[in-house]
Symmetry: D2
Subunit: 339 residues, 4 copies
């Protein structure tokens, strides 16, 4: 690789997730972060200074830049489809944070617009790149537990996002569960039915926003596989991110991550670990780097992206179905809508 | 206790579960197993010989026996309601194996018949007495994890029962899930909604019997609590019986049980435990003894039974609701039907 | 077994360990506890009442009893050799608590006296019967980790015994470490060298008694195997009893035991277990029952005892060598003195 | 830090450990790797190309380079003292791989030569920077387990080094155990006595070289603390690096590290982890980076180094004492020789 020229990339958005991508690109030996675009130019400037990039305010400056290979879109959700379309139209590879958009019609319109473009368009479902989840999946694929029958996903955030974030998030299914729905499809791409139950057990604020603070979702795959997702918007002991894949001949599980292997035993209890890594920046630090590697690999080789734009569409379809099921109390068929 | 005379009990049924109860009674310092009744008199005789009891063929001989304090009903399900009613009518305390009956109308008729009798009538939901599950529940009750929000129950049998058993079992919800439904109510007595999904992923035989081999159930409690149950009729690594109680300030979990603490590390893998205890006779051996203790305690003190006849009714109501939900794809309201 | 008459046994000593044996014998289907002998007749009476035995004051009454098969010696250490010799002389099988005696000359004299008697004489090194330790050993014997190279034994009491007990205990090596020395010989019977280091880190009382509160011992087997023992007279988190067997192709370990599988996660820490089982009565409850089974088996079949009288001699030889090594700072050769 | 100019460092040695340091320096935002010196200039060139440094053959070129802040010495052991002395004399900070030298007299002579120089001189005992070991130590220092009483260190290499390496290694105590001796001093700096036992259980090659393949060492601290070290030159399940600190009120332990949290359960066994990280490059990858950070911090702030040159001396004194003890079978006093 040392003989290849580095890929030249631009970044949209200098917020929390933009910073993750910017620092990873700056540290990546095969990538040059050329531009960071953000209407809030101060943030872009600070980040550009720390990563050796150039800050710009207007996306047009990105599209006018010669010699770019691709973009990473980490700007607010409402900007996604426009930036995807315009980038793809200019032959720039795209890695876009989830979700594509909160409105499925907007997403489907975007799909039409980019039809025919051949550049890699990748969705930022970072958890597919978590080393533990990825290992479970590859060992399932390798047949280590026989035919896959059930998947249990537990996913709890450490604490609710601020009220404003929640209010514009599209609701827990489209904002939070969507990651787990993609994880379900990572194991069972062809989902045919969605049942969901939502509840309000701890947050009056979330209730006032007509959103749930706790949900469970059951998915059925076309092969009869049953996947259950359990979500909560809070968790006293950290970021709870676990998964079990149960098959005909065994089970593979991926647990939470502690910063070290230290355990303590004392008069009150034994073998106590430290709290789990606090949130996604820590837990999925390796995943973000592996995601960037995969994006670079797709650009260089033209290999199909995973997760793809279509995976982003499918996850939103499932999230919408879950929201509908939680509202109506009825199982929603999504046969044919994904996979 | 040594100064009290032992309780004199009789046992209906000398099959697998009858043998468990007979041996536990024989070993219990405060209990005398007087009679074992079974139409298959040979089985009753063998068991009676091993436990120092007397074998009889006709239940009437039990009811004619003077000085009995109570009975344990371990005979086939269709005999339960009749034996409960007749025993209670004679002032005998009852510990009856689950389910009371597969037909809710029969169960409700039985409830009418025993109305007014004051003897303890206890249902054999043995898992409430598992030391780990019982500890989780008592620590939840003690407020150790704050308000209870979510319960995750995973329960898988090692292998499907024989075809004949399945055919007359009343279906997976009434036969297998019913234990987990009672466990759910052990934590959240007042369940208001039931959603279930069933699937056939590995057994053609079970499919031919119009039953599911794998199911998931989501329950909602009156306080918004969400309980998920995951069942499979088979499990390659033993009897999978786990539970997590998630609350506002923490989580308590109970795991599977291995025969010893031995772990092995070698070139292929590390920290490998032995397979889990194979099935309920081994996993719940302590639970059956604790259940017997609790039954004896209720007889001696008149303390209310837990689980009670009403708990048996409630579990069946939930099992029926789950079966209906799996069939219709609709959430079933059971508000007011239990707790 | 149900057709055999029960073995008739007598018990010497109604103290803490005597009570363990008495209750186990009372509960054992193949054993009848006939007599309990103790000069402190009140204790014997209470225990006899609880177990259906007869209390006697004078050992002679045991030896005069017709139809006895054997005795269990749980009386104070100074009575052991006399009771062993007299029991063996009368054709009674013996299960004697450790140690045979604190004085090796007394032990060797006893060995001479019982030479030629063919009744089973078994030493009460109960840990050989712990299910976890026994499993590690049998899997080592089966070759599961190749040639055995190293054994790591960690053994800590929850709290020091009372001053009077310590004062007459023979010192930590002969009183406490002796169990671990036997455990070492359970894995590597032929020990050739002993090195020990003693220290006083927490108890002024033990120091005043010229004893150590903490010691480590390294043993070398005739095949070059290295065994390390780490002891402390106290442990804040319960009875710490662990073992690792390391071989050419892997490692088998046995860990501490908790009452249940419950683990707690909260804001301060995760996956915390309850404190370990508090002391030997709880941790080795199963071991004492298995030991009794093995004793009964030896009586019935004439099979050689393990641990045998010779194992008791060997452990004392090692304990003496460890005490000498800790005093002199020199490795002590014990080649030929055991195995 | 972004406003400070990077530290300019040079590296001696482009072998395995040199490559670790070179890549870490290249990735470190506050360090510029200026020169790599190695008589085998091809290796230096390849590594320099990959890390943006300049390769030189003669150490003099390093000493002639203007504007250097320090050096990392990763060249063969016999070159260490010369390079330390010459670097320190030129005012260059030094991070030198262990050991300083295999000959204590050479080490002491070097100590005389550098007396009076004030530049940081740090020893490369990388394990002090392992996140788990460092956390245990800091929590012990914080008093979390009360007074420290016992430390158990288990340290096994995956496989023996090649014959040539072993032959010139100075023996297992000076080559391998020396890391564990420093770890012991990390917890208990003032060691007063050393007892060691060596054995040959698996390698005829090592035996022919008059070296041991397996050893145990017991250290006593001036406060009576007992530290045990168990070493083996091979380990079937990976690089076995564990530590337990036992104190008056509890225990802190650090376990082995697996690449992910994945565990597998199947018919043959349950909860099996992957093999541990294979060797020091993987297990101590984070430690090497933290070590480099600490070195940079000392250079910038003048803060005392840990581990220091004196720690290097002390570890060698202990290794020599262990070798002597294993040979003579006598405990060796080292009171006053360290701490």
């Amino acid at each position: 690789m040392s003989t290849e020229r580095p890929l030249r990339l631009a970044l949209f958005g200098s917020g929390r997730i933009g910073q993750v991508h910017a620092r990873n690109m700056a540290a990546h030996p095969g990538i040059e972060l050329a531009l960071i675009a953000d209407p809030f130019i101060d943030g872009a400037r600070r980040l550009a200074e720390a990563t050796g990039a150039r800050a710009v305010q207007d996306p047009e400056e990105v599209f006018a830049e010669p010699g770019l290979d691709g973009v990473i879109i980490g700007s607010p959700t409402p900007t996604h489809v426009d930036l995807i379309s315009r980038s793809a139209a200019r032959g720039l590879a795209v890695l876009c944070e989830k979700p594509i958009d909160l409105d499925i019609n907007t997403v489907l319109a975007c799909r039409e617009q980019i039809r025919g473009y051949t550049v890699p368009i990748m969705l930022g479902f970072n958890r597919r790149f978590d080393p533990s989840f990825a290992e479970v999946r590859s060992r399932v694929e390798a047949g280590e537990i026989g035919r896959l029958e059930q998947v249990t996903i537990i996913s709890r955030d450490p604490a609710p996002a601020p009220r404003d974030y929640i209010a514009s998030s599209g609701g827990i299914f489209r904002d939070m569960t969507i990651h787990d729905l993609d994880m379900a499809r990572f194991f069972v791409p062809d989902i045919v039915e969605v049942s969901a139950v939502g509840s309000n057990v701890f947050s009056d604020e979330i209730k006032e926003l007509d959103d749930f603070d706790s949900v469970t979702v059951t998915l059925r795959g076309s092969g009869g596989e049953l996947i259950t997702i359990t979500n909560s918007r809070h968790c006293a002991f950290g970021y709870d991110q676990r998964l079990e894949a149960f098959g005909a001949t065994g089970m593979l599980s991926a647990g939470n991550v502690t910063p070290t292997t230290v355990r303590k035993s004392g008069a009150e209890g034994t073998e106590e670990s430290a709290p789990y890594l606090p949130f996604f920046l820590e837990r999925y630090a390796q995943a973000y780097m592996a995601e960037l590697d995969a994006f670079a690999h797709s650009i260089r080789t033209g290999a199909p992206c995973s997760p793809s734009f279509e995976d982003g569409v499918a996850a939103l379809v499932l999230a919408n179905a879950a929201a509908e099921s939680a509202l109506t109390g009825k199982t929603v068929s999504v046969a044919g809508a994904n996979a």
